[in-house]
Amino acid sequence: MSDIKIKNIFVNGKIESGFIGESIAKHSSKTTIGGHSIFMGQVRRDDQGGKFVYAIEFTAYETLALEKMNLIREEIFDKYPIICLHVYHSLGVVNTGDICLFVFCSAAHRTPAIDACTEIVERLKTELPIWGKEIFEDDSHQWKENN
């Protein structure tokens, strides 16, 4: 529908800390940036009535999710004076302690970078068709519900 290039946000499995470090390094050539705000989601070893989560398996309706993320991205760029915005979300199994979401927002000043980053995290949790299946140590599972 749109001429705009749809960016992929999906990564198979966990998001590596080295990848995050490299993403940060790439911004040193952008000398109008004064502040970077990052949010990362990490899989918790949640206790659900005595059963412990050992992984979350993510699935998504990918085409719909990428199109929606693209709209959110455009709205965020319209709303805040930000310079860069990167979003990555895991698909497939991510173990406890590993990173499943990485949102990276940069601006000349700290306030727009922080506000935009926070708003993106809120919106992607409620608006992107992604589902998390919490897998317990006894191999049973339950579908994650966002608050």
Binding site: T59, Y61, L64, P129, I130, W131, G132, W143, E145, N146
Partner: protein, 77 residues
């Protein structure tokens, strides 16, 4: 008239991908009534539909041959 049904998350555990006959059904509101009869579990759940990769926000006409996605609440992040 046939549509293809796909499902996600918890709903994918009891509604596999399938084609269903929707003769006489011409919009998404009527389709919902039909789906809730065919798959009683979803009638007590929150869910959304997408028609041909577009989220259904308001009642939408169906011409047949669409792909309809049945989606429980999102839980990414």
């Amino acid at each position: 008239m046939e549509i293809e049904i796909i499902s996600f998350g918890k709903i994918s555990e009891f509604i596999p991908r399938q084609k269903i006959d929707i003769t006489g059904i011409s919009d998404t509101d009527t389709l919902k009534v039909h789906l809730e009869k065919a798959f009683p579990q979803i009638s007590t759940m929150k869910y959304k539909l997408a028609l041909n990769e577009k989220l259904v926000q308001n009642n939408t006409l169906i011409s047949g041959n669409e792909v309809v996605a049945i989606m429980p609440p999102f839980s990414g992040g």
